[in-house]
Symmetry: C2
Amino acid sequence: MNEPVVVSATLLRRLTEALLRDRAVRQDVADHVAASLLQTSLRGVDSHGLELLPHYVRAVDARRINRDPQYRFEQTAAATGRLDADHTFGHAAGAEAMTHAMVMARDAGTGIVTVYNSSHFGAAAYFALLAANEGFLAFSFTHADALMLSHGGTRAFFGTNPICFAAPCAGEEPFCLDMATTLVSWNKILRRRDADAPLEEGWAVDEHAEPTTDAGAARMLSPIGLYKGFGLAMMIDILCGVLTGMPFGREISRMYADPIEQKRFLGHCFMAIDPARFVDPAQFKERLQEMMERVRAEPQEDPDVTVMVPGDPEKQAFRERTQNGIPISSRTWERFVELAAEVNMPLAE
Amino acid sequence: MNEPVVVSATLLRRLTEALLRDRAVRQDVADHVAASLLQTSLRGVDSHGLELLPHYVRAVDARRINRDPQYRFEQTAAATGRLDADHTFGHAAGAEAMTHAMVMARDAGTGIVTVYNSSHFGAAAYFALLAANEGFLAFSFTHADALMLSHGGTRAFFGTNPICFAAPCAGEEPFCLDMATTLVSWNKILRRRDADAPLEEGWAVDEHAEPTTDAGAARMLSPIGLYKGFGLAMMIDILCGVLTGMPFGREISRMYADPIEQKRFLGHCFMAIDPARFVDPAQFKERLQEMMERVRAEPQEDPDVTVMVPGDPEKQAFRERTQNGIPISSRTWERFVELAAEVNMPLAE
């Protein structure tokens, strides 16, 4: 495996913007895609950041993703609404939906917006952080195509359906938990496969649903906590598939295996909550920071590693990568060089 | 270990009602406590059902639990409110809060109610099912005293903080996921201890945070999915401790170890969502049932065991126990006999 290429965030943002502009992706849509991919890669979540840009570009070219969507938002009550994403980038539709949720939360205390006719939305944290940075507690959910071994079964029914929760705190960036309901992400399997490295026991199973540590043989991922992670994935598909009127379970289209022309028909669910309707919001932020500091001060298993709060590894990566640049896999970098050449953008700083 | 005694639900309900009436627990409060304990035991969740009745009786006698609470509910916006439980049974305060959440959800599409100054609320499913039986999607959350080994740490900071989600479906009782964020409940450890049986690997650690299969040595429980379960527990303490103004983490009082006179100062969080604000509610119920049926029809790992949906074991237990009675541990049964004698209620049918 070749070493990744470390590239500045500035250059990667320019590349992303140039590729989307060249394809006539509408400015407001492109802005969210670029912001989400950059933020996600800076936070160290390579599986959901810029590594996906070549895939998205193909999907726009093939008209899977709509570059000029006509959003249709319908507020159905003081605190609820639904958004037709018109098959654009989930990154942009999700931000649009969370913005509506925040507007409702300002008046009604909370707001829930479901999204239908959407496509892959990248990292769930992008939307929850959007709201947490405005002072809201926020949830974001999406379903995904079948990849989690069903508890007690031999194949996958649900996806790695993530749960994401963020909340504002004093003195630092918001608390943010963003987790798949499988033990590890599929991308982690792929990286072990590329590196010819074995998997840890319990992560994955092969095509016969037998446990395997062979990354090449892995076909499905184990849920966290057996039936518990399976149950959480089902809960999320109820919110994102059943509550949105979209397909669910094994009927969800495949991100990669299905024809790239095929629209995804994905659903998402977003929620914003105004803490000021429950407690003094300044006190909320201070007490949350106190909780985070206390957790970090807990006695350590390894004397060299402090106990971490969800989001701490991402905050560390953000600081480091903002300084030193973002590592891009050699395979993706080669593709970036080709794509940049097509828009006459030499890939040098 | 002595065999459990199998007792009819009717007799156990009469006993519960008699013990609470004798202690002048207000009727509306007692009704929820009895309904919750019966339902929970019928659903097979012995750790949160009638086995706790002797503890609750002691807590009422010691004035930890208020028998005649003055609820103070404040609706703070169209879809948010908070309830002062005045230290009564969490079972009753939670039902009061969820009722307010449903009233708001009817108008505003959703409603969130936090509860403060509360006490142990039993099974989270009781509240979520209350709302799901009225046609709402519902969440219920509570925090609990420190018992989960912190990821990367050597002691417990968060409790087994459960997440519960229910949703109405056609043709059968609601979908209901009710799970601690630890791999197993503490009660499961205690039952193995009573039976002199070993634990499964990974369930628990001893006082030095070392993995143990010795039920007698177990002191803390492992989170599901390592840092993921730890993160979910923290999310729940943010909703139930920080957002309610109650203590959090290691400052939460101990259910058993602290003096029985000491009030708990617990917080909970409830949410009701009206599916009719998103899709046709009849279609929602039908599609959810279709999802459940499809999951149950998935190819099985064990030819004798179908793939189950969260809540299926509880539904089976409910049918079986409604017919045949509820098993009560011999230790609890002895205590029931003593308590029944105090209220001149002979324990025979």
